[in-house]
């Protein structure tokens, strides 16, 4: 995703009216793609998709099945489940990143999509942060204290690490929310660490 391109949201929903409504709400801020069932959703899914809104109860492939295929393909997208009933905590254990219970209001939809995008932003910041931390550790493990004290590279690196750490704590409100916490940890286990 380049700076100028809007994030991509894929709506997988079998009721056309409902799907159209979501599209209307979102198309001002995002590029919206629509699929009427799970199979079509999987076809339209590629690495340009940032967020998937996935209806849980659909004819054909269920939302749960679509989710597991998405995870198998190790795509970096975030998946919000849309459900008719309020789920319990176990939704997180099932591997969704968020859920929305019908009927959904426009504001709710926007909040959820932007939160999921922020989580992706957090993941990528955390990845960049790690790269710096590793670099610093390598210097620390291979140079003497005197060498480090004289090294401009090391001083710069220390500063960058501190800045990045600050930036991370400003993203997602520094993981205050339980859902953000669990979803971020799931991202770590999902093989995104390359």
């Amino acid at each position: 995703m380049s700076e100028s391109d809007p994030p991509v949201v894929l709506i997988v929903e079998d009721e056309p009216d409902v799907a159209e409504t979501y599209k209307l709400w979102l198309e001002g801020d995002y590029e919206v793609r629509m699929a009427q069932n799970g199979d079509e959703g999987l076809e339209l899914l590629d690495d340009t998709v940032d967020v998937v809104l996935l209806d849980r109860m659909m004819p054909g492939l269920s939302g749960d099945e679509v989710l597991s295929r998405i995870r198998e393909r190790e795509l970096g997208c975030r998946v919000a489940m849309v459900t008719a009933v309020e789920p319990d905590f176990d939704i997180l254990e099932m591997g969704f990143d968020a859920y929305l219970s019908k009927p959904i209001r426009s504001e709710q939809l926007h909040d959820t999509v932007s939160n999921l995008l922020e989580r992706s932003e957090y993941d990528s910041l955390l990845q960049d942060y790690y790269a710096l931390v590793e670099k610093r550790a390598t210097l620390e493990a291979t140079k003497s204290n005197a060498e480090l004290a004289d090294s401009e590279e090391y001083a710069d690196l220390k500063e960058q690490v501190a800045e990045m750490r600050e930036g991370l704590s400003d993203t997602l409100g520094g993981i205050e929310d339980d859902d953000d916490f669990i979803a971020t940890l799931r991202g770590l286990s999902n093989g995104e660490e390359n």
Binding site: E93, E140, F181, L185
Partner: protein
């Protein structure tokens, strides 16, 4: 990640467990790494820090990769006789083959299938913190014993990120965290990476002529001198 500057916050005093000035006012949200060779009492030190807080009513959370949850509960019951119902939660990462919640002798226990199941550990911690919060405990101490075991299940990058994210979560809860690592079990670079996920470091080692000694780094600029413990 302790970064707040309000002066009104109630600091954690760990100096009664380990006598260093640098540990007398530890800011809520701080995460501390306890590092040292095998058999130098790292886990005991972590448990001491938790037990000391528990006596003052702090919430207590133990994430264990080695001890059985039942043993952890029994140990804390013995060390802190005044331990109340729902003051202690244990996340036991050794439950091979499945996850489960239960209650052991008045403590909340969450079972996780493996020390490599970070999501499961996160859910266990979340549920435990929620339980403690609901019973009115707004501060507390979490120990994770040990990162060395986790590092045998997953790589240092993942463990580093896990520590960073967990520290952020503890910061939001105004808890402090203590994490142990066996400094002899990993290469120098791994130790240097993991260290950076923490606000402070307590090093322990065997002292010349028997006994142990310790020093504290990271809280107030310069490392302290080694001191016998």
């Amino acid at each position: 990640m302790a970064k707040r500057t309000e002066v009104m916050e109630d600091m954690y005093d760990l100096s009664s467990v380990l006598d260093f000035d640098a540990l007398s006012e530890v800011r809520p949200g701080s995460s501390i790494l306890i590092s040292g060779p095998a058999m130098t009492g790292k886990q005991r030190l972590a448990y001491d820090i938790l037990a000391d807080g528990a006596r003052d009513g702090d919430g207590t959370v133990v994430v264990t990769t080695g001890d059985d949850a039942t043993d952890v509960v029994a140990e804390f019951r013995e060390r802190v006789p005044e331990l109340e119902e729902s003051q202690l939660g244990v996340v036991d990462c050794r439950r091979e083959g499945g996850s489960d919640n239960s209650s052991v002798d008045g403590a909340y226990v969450h079972q996780v299938s493996s020390p490599g199941d970070l999501t499961g550990i996160g859910i266990g911690i979340t549920k435990t913190l929620e339980g403690l919060h609901n019973s009115g405990r707004d501060r507390g101490r979490l120990a994770l014993v040990s990162l060395s075991t986790m590092l045998t299940y997953t790589d240092k990058k993942t463990v580093f990120k896990f520590c960073h994210v967990l520290s952020s979560r503890l910061d939001a809860a105004d808890y402090i965290g203590v994490f142990t690592i066996d400094s002899g079990a990993h290469d120098q670079q791994t130790i240097q990476v993991i260290k950076q996920a923490f606000d402070g470091l307590i090093e322990v080692r065997d002292a010349d002529g028997g006994g142990r000694e310790s020093r504290v780094l990271g809280f107030s600029g310069e490392p302290t001198d080694w001191k016998r413990i």
